[in-house]
């Protein structure tokens, strides 16, 4: 079934997951979570990490029961041919929407922060050309590219460490000021930033490692990601005062914009350029997942054409979304879709697997 075989190594899976999860919303994460959890936003991020870890355990349970099945086979084994196919179709739609939302937000932010005069449909087109180029490569090559580009995360950490010299800890004190309900509500806001972990369900069959090893890698990547997000959020929370944070929708970029060095006067431009890479890696993985699932679904069609078709679909969906208020409203609803596909559906899978003790049938 899997024509590509087990081609990626476990350390590559680590970067694949991290790069997919860190995407367009990293620059706005502190603001999103601040709006509900105030100065305790970082606790929400930490808690989300814990929740996602539970989700990973749940995924691994399903994966262990069906170690060599592709995602489509799992769906069909659990729900029968028709409903199984329907669920795969839903996942395809989900990933297309995820990619389109990412694209729309990307266009909006880039227009606001870097290129106000370039028409944003051009920005989207250029992005899609890059994605097309990467996604047509083998998964192995994509993974290697992700390992390579992970260096840029160090730049993020570096800039954020630098910001700590102006930190004001009193902005987040007293800890727990916003109360438990708000902190828990914050988790929902953070969830979209963790989206991408569901790829584990699809990608695991390509990993050249024991299932136990995959669990280990997924756990490590989740821990790293949680720490990374918590750090980024915490930095913005102590750097910008609460009232200011309310006004600044992309605090991470704003923070970098306020620096100026002797040689680089506008570090935010460099920072934004780097962020484009993170967006590209996220998008590529979403498109890859869509492509993989649709090719599996219909078993025919040239992969190149399918990819181009999918990209065009994403483009068409993204175009009307790239307006501030429209995107805001749509994201508000879409975060529930993310939770549905990341948590609820896999949970149903898990329960069925567990209760009826479903297992892979030896062929």
């Amino acid at each position: 079934m899997n024509n590509e075989g087990k081609t990626i190594l476990s350390y590559q899976l680590f970067f694949l997951l991290i790069q997919t999860q860190i995407g367009v919303s990293i620059v706005s994460l502190p603001h999103d979570v601040f709006n509900t959890a105030k100065g305790d936003g970082w606790i929400s991020v930490l808690l989300t990490g814990v929740v996602v870890q539970c989700i990973i355990f749940m995924y691994m349970f399903i994966i262990k029961r069906f170690p060599t099945y592709s995602w489509k086979q799992v769906c069909e084994a659990l729900f029968g041919k028709v409903i199984g196919k329907f669920i795969v179709l839903l996942y395809i739609l989900y990933f297309i929407c995820l990619a389109s939302m990412t694209l729309a937000k990307y266009a909006l932010l880039l227009s606001a922060w870097m290129m106000p005069r370039t028409p944003s449909w051009v920005l989207l087109l250029l992005m899609l050309i890059i994605v097309l180029y990467i996604v047509t490569a083998k998964l192995e090559a994509i993974a290697q590219f992700y390992v390579l580009t992970s260096v840029i995360l160090l730049v993020y950490i570096g800039f954020n460490i630098y910001a700590w010299k102006e930190a004001n800890l009193t902005f987040i004190l007293p800890i727990g000021q916003s109360g438990v309900p708000h902190i828990l509500e914050g988790i929902i806001k953070v969830f979209p930033s963790f989206s991408g972990i569901e790829l584990l369900l699809i990608l695991h069959i390509f990993v050249h490692a024991e299932k136990r090893e995959i669990l280990k890698v997924a756990t490590i990547s989740n821990v790293c990601l949680t720490i990374f997000y918590t750090f980024i959020t915490l930095t913005s929370l102590v750097f910008l005062s609460p009232k200011e944070l309310k006004l600044v929708p992309e605090p991470v970029l704003y923070l970098v914009k306020s620096f100026s060095f002797k040689i680089i006067e506008r570090p935010d431009l460099i920072f934004t350029s780097i962020w484009i890479v993170l967006v590209a890696t996220t998008l590529t993985m979403f498109i890859y997942a869509t492509k993989y699932l649709s090719l599996h679904m219909y078993k025919k069609g040239k992969s190149q054409f399918v990819t181009i078709f999918l990209l065009v679909v994403c483009y068409i969906i993204a175009i009307p979304l790239r307006k501030v208020y429209i995107l805001q409203t749509v994201s508000e609803y879409f975060q529930y879709a993310i939770i549905a596909f990341m948590v609820v559906l896999p949970l149903i899978f898990f329960l069925i697997t567990f209760i009826f003790s479903k297992k892979e049938v030896e062929q």
Binding site: A112, W113, M114, M115, R117, T118, N168, T170, E244
Partner: protein, 372 residues
Amino acid sequence: MRSVVVPIILLLLLTGCWDQRLLKEHSLILAIGYDLTEDGKIEKTITFPAKSGGGGQVSISTKTETISVIANTVKGAEIKTDEYSPEKFDRSKAKVIIIGKDLAEKGIFPALDSVYRDLRAPLYASVAIVEGTAKDALEVEDTYSLLTSDFYSQLLTTATEAGIIKDDNIQEICPIILSDGKDIIIPRITLLEDGKRAKISGSILLNGDKWNGKLNLDENVMLLTLMGEANKNRKMNLLVDPNEERQEKRYVNFSLRNEHRQLTWEHTGDNDITVTVKVSLQIEIDEYASDHLYDEKKAKQLVDSITKQTEKRAKKTIEKIQEANNDALGVGEKIKAYDPQLWQEINWKETYPEIEIVPEFDIEIIRHGILN
């Protein structure tokens, strides 16, 4: 096929750029001044280097030109400036923003809105408030053969290095203006000799974003010390021996080498909050004409009188900032963070002028130059 397609794509993609702003089409403004006119409009004054020479050669002279326009808002004035000039003005490299007294009294934050909103805004420009109008400040004559814009930014930088003012940039003042438990102080510029010259004369105490009082340089240095803004170049001059015959012998000059500040508070009764600012200073004597510092006893006496004098000055300073309802020390911030219950009970803006703030100094002479 490929050898044709690839170059065409490269040519199309790599050569063009929408978001270009060519330097030759722009005139960089390095200093901007904002004033409030009598009928409530914004007057914006910009200064830029005058271009001289011809025949394609453009040399930058030390002469500057200024343009003033009046409009309803800051951004409106920006647009209006274009009506006066053949070149597009670009404020993104501004080094200093000067705000006139009238505008400062009405509140500076609305005027800065466009700066915070603008992608290319000069967030790291210094801010200063002038006693008078920003227009006059930018038209000073004697700038020590520097451009007016450079003059102000260097004036502020040098004074900051000497530790006599705190030069916050646009970005740095924003979180403080917007926070509940802390207020900002902004360097104050005074014009001398009918606007011929300008100098730094202390700082403006802002209540929220409004001018609400001022400090002179001595008090400002004291306030910075109380704020715990460490600076190894900061110096103080105090009257210690008022009974000495000669003027020089009455004073002592010293540099602050190490500072450590501690802020504690006690909540007694309903609205009685007593705040203690404990400052430990390690000082080096720069000038003390009475000498005799080899004698430890004599040195101790000196320390005692220095302590007494600093506390006296500190008290006066604190009185002034409380009068201006300016919590530059960040007492509210601390209480909010470490005693949230108390914070809930009080209305800080109303309570702050009433509370008692006690400065306590612990001074130690660690060196006295190469002379005893």
